[in-house]
């Protein structure tokens, strides 16, 4: 039986649409994975020596202190990103296979996800270093095994608390409060938790506790799944209560308003697009890294304009670059309805522009760092509106990945959304303004640099019609390919 399961799993992995990308991309992905492995491995191996040298305390002690945050953070990331395994069960339900076997396999499968494996790249080298440094072998190994058990406990805990948002946000809230209290020195949770984590090392028999926990959680998840093994129970998908919205105030924009109304609903009602909006809000704070001088490499003057573009352009980059994929689920409708490409593109353009303006206004708190900082954001916004807004729409014509609005799974880095043409279009998006600014800055002064970038943006804005005609032609040319690509779901 297990042989069949494994062969199914194997096929589902190697035949998945995202795996069938071109060779160059596979190599790039392999390098990406390798990079993470090396980074985590180096951290694991180097952490010991770094802590010992810099802080002159016992590295294991320090790691034990912060493990509580590490483990809770892991749980949070899992909650947001790890996909529940239930979906693959359905076709197996009516086949002559014992339910227990299916549940065991489904749960066992989750053990092999990336979210579990990645931790090994940190803890294995770290433990090896501990052994090399002469820590008692038995204690280190038991500590290591206990940590593995805790990480796997997270895996099953996540399955149990899946979709219980109230619980999740409570945990996150407590974590943030504890973090703040610790930072300001009022209350230090790690003093209490580190006792436990240290005990895992010092008292080998304590290390059995995480394994008992893991066993219990596995048992609970097993029972939970076993009991809810019905289409209308655990395997059903949640339906949210729908509310009809009018948004009549947008009617004044005519046919543009029709699309804007739709786009606002799209953003509000789908998981994937809500994540995108959240990410674009985070982009606003990205500038803090530059303007607080916290990262030395970012102190060169040209980076100011770089930051300015990102601060105001978060939505532009995260949403804009996937136009028209947001409408992929009903693209045939859009293509056969009484819609002109120009109106369609125009509405997306306005959406991006409005979001850029709002971001710029919100970012006015950067005035705290001086008027020059905010000026760079305004100039970035002008460039975004005048040039980048076209470029993302243009690039979108070549991205033919359908977006599953109801799933968050690929929100962070969609491999197929990445191809040579979109790569090349990144250069004028980010590189050109830096170069333009550098010319002005080094030839005359920083004001001239800002002025030059702003002028490029304004020129771009002035040529909107010409550029839109060109983009429209590209979309028309790509239309049939796009329709065909969106048909291939999954």
């Amino acid at each position: 039986m297990i042989k069949h399961f494994i062969s199914l799993q194997w096929k589902s992995f190697f035949r998945s649409a995202s795996f069938k990308t071109n060779l160059a991309l596979k190599i790039l992905m392999a390098f990406g994975a390798l990079y993470f492995i090396v980074v985590f491995g180096a951290m694991g191996a180097g952490a010991y020596y770094l802590i010992e040298k810099q802080l002159a305390i016992d590295p294991l002690d320090l790691i034990n202190r912060f493990l509580i945050y590490y483990i809770v953070a892991d749980l949070v990331i899992r909650y947001l990103m790890q996909k529940m395994p239930v979906l693959d069960i359905k076709p197996l339900m009516y086949l002559p296979i014992k339910r227990a076997t299916i549940v065991n396999f489904t749960l066992g499968k989750t053990a092999l996800t990336f979210f579990n494996i990645i931790h090994a790249f940190f803890f294995v080298p770290f433990s090896i270093v501990l052994l090399i440094e002469g820590y008692p072998a038995l204690n280190v190994i038991l500590w290591h095994l206990a940590i593995i058990a805790l990480i796997y406990s997270n895996n099953f805990l996540n399955i149990l608390v899946n979709n219980k948002d109230a619980l999740f946000y409570t945990i996150v809230g407590i974590l943030i409060i504890l973090g703040v209290l610790q930072y300001y020195g009022y209350f230090d949770i790690t003093e209490y938790t580190s006792v436990f984590f240290n005990a895992l090392y010092k008292q080998p028999f304590v290390a059995i506790l995480p394994w008992i926990l893991l066993g219990t959680l596995y048992f609970l998840s097993f029972n939970y799944f076993r009991k809810n093994f019905y289409l209308d129970a655990g395997l059903s998908t949640k339906h949210s209560v729908a509310k009809t919205e009018n948004l009549d105030w947008l009617n004044r924009f005519g046919s543009l308003g029709t699309f804007l109304k739709n786009d606002i609903k799209l953003l509000k009602r789908n998981k994937r697009s809500r994540t995108t909006v959240l990410m674009s809000v985070l982009f606003i704070f990205y500038g803090l890294l530059f303007f607080t001088n916290s990262i030395e490499a970012y102190n060169a003057p040209v980076w100011k304009i770089f930051a300015g573009i990102f601060v105001s352009g978060g939505f532009l980059f995260t949403f804009g670059q996937f136009v028209p994929s947001w409408d992929s689920a009903y693209y045939p409708l859009m293509m056969s309805q009484n819609i002109r490409y120009k109106e369609y593109l125009d509405s997306k353009w306005y959406l991006v522009i409005i979001a850029t303006l709002i971001s710029t206004v919100i970012a006015s708190f950067y005035l705290y760092f001086g008027w020059e900082v905010y000026l760079s954001i305004i100039v970035g916004a002008i460039y975004n509106i005048g040039v980048n807004s076209y470029l993302v729409l243009w690039g979108g014509a070549y991205i033919k990945t359908p977006i599953d609005l109801t799933s968050n799974k690929k929100a962070f880095g969609d491999s197929q959304a990445f191809n040579m043409k979109t790569m090349l279009l990144t250069l004028p998006k980010l590189g050109l303004p830096l170069i333009v600014y550098a010319i002005g800055h080094y030839a005359i002064n920083s004001s001239a640099g800002f002025a030059l970038v702003a002028i490029v943006g304004i020129i771009g804005f002035a040529f909107k019609n010409a550029v839109f005609n060109k983009i429209e032609r590209v979309y028309k040319k790509e239309k049939y390919k796009t329709l065909a690509a969106y048909k291939q779901k999954n």
Partner: protein
């Protein structure tokens, strides 16, 4: 209304559609039948310019569909669930289509009020998004949406599939009503021979991409079709 000229569609070396000449006059209720892979959906997709013909073209009201978009205002269609916007409620979806076709809310409300029977109380005011409706109910919403805005050409691909018997009977009445209006051309495809013979004035049988029968519906048509498909 519709003229297909030397129309072919090939995928690689495989020819999926080959229609030398097909003329559908205005006001006709036209049925397309054929087995799986006969080319019905391909023909409709070509008609809606969702795929490109390998040779030839289709004219809709003298407009070559893959060269101009001017056929869109008078044409509407429901092919499959990709014509629905999942995150809208049915009402919002109807209003959206209405706005695209120059209808205000009152117009749309008046139209969908006529289909209350057809909806059977399962579409309107359900507090559900289209994506959460059952397949049959999604289809009902999609079919009615294609009637919004007084289109001159309505294309329905497999409209009877997935519908319950009551709804099938009501849909037949609706299509017959539409067919009475000589300004409206209705194109329907189906696997169900009795349904098409009942609602269509003319039936074309496709087999492996080619027109093999072109029948003006009469009492004998159903028998003729059954004999053909019994093969």
């Amino acid at each position: 209304m519709i003229i297909a000229n030397n129309l072919t569609k090939k995928y690689g070396s495989q020819q999926v559609l080959h229609i030398d000449n097909l003329d559908i006059p205005k006001g006709e209720s036209f049925g397309l039948v054929g087995n799986n892979g006969a080319g019905k959906t391909t023909f409709f997709s070509l008609l809606l310019d969702l795929i490109q013909p390998t040779t030839g073209n289709i004219k809709n009201n003298d407009i070559i569909v893959n060269e101009s978009e001017d056929w869109k205002p008078h044409t509407s269609a429901f092919i499959d669930e990709t014509f629905l916007i999942g995150y809208l409620t049915p009402e919002e979806y109807f209003y959206f289509i209405g706005e695209l076709r120059g209808q205000n809310k009152a117009d749309v409300d008046a139209l969908i009020a006529k289909f209350e029977d057809f909806f059977h109380g399962e579409i309107l005011a359900q507090k559900k998004y289209l994506r959460d409706l059952s397949k049959g109910n999604q289809k009902k919403a999609g079919i009615v949406a294609s009637f919004i805005g007084n289109p001159e050409l309505i294309i329905l691909d497999e409209p009877f599939a997935n519908l319950d018997p009551t709804t099938q009977i009501r849909l037949k009445e609706i299509i017959k009503d539409l067919a009475k209006n000589k300004d409206v051309t209705v194109l329907v495809s189906s696997h169900d021979l009795s349904h098409v013979t009942e609602v269509c004035e003319r039936i074309v049988v496709l087999n492996k991409g080619e027109v093999v029968r072109d029948i003006q519906t009469s009492k004998e048509t159903l028998k003729e079709l059954e004999e053909f498909f019994a093969g």
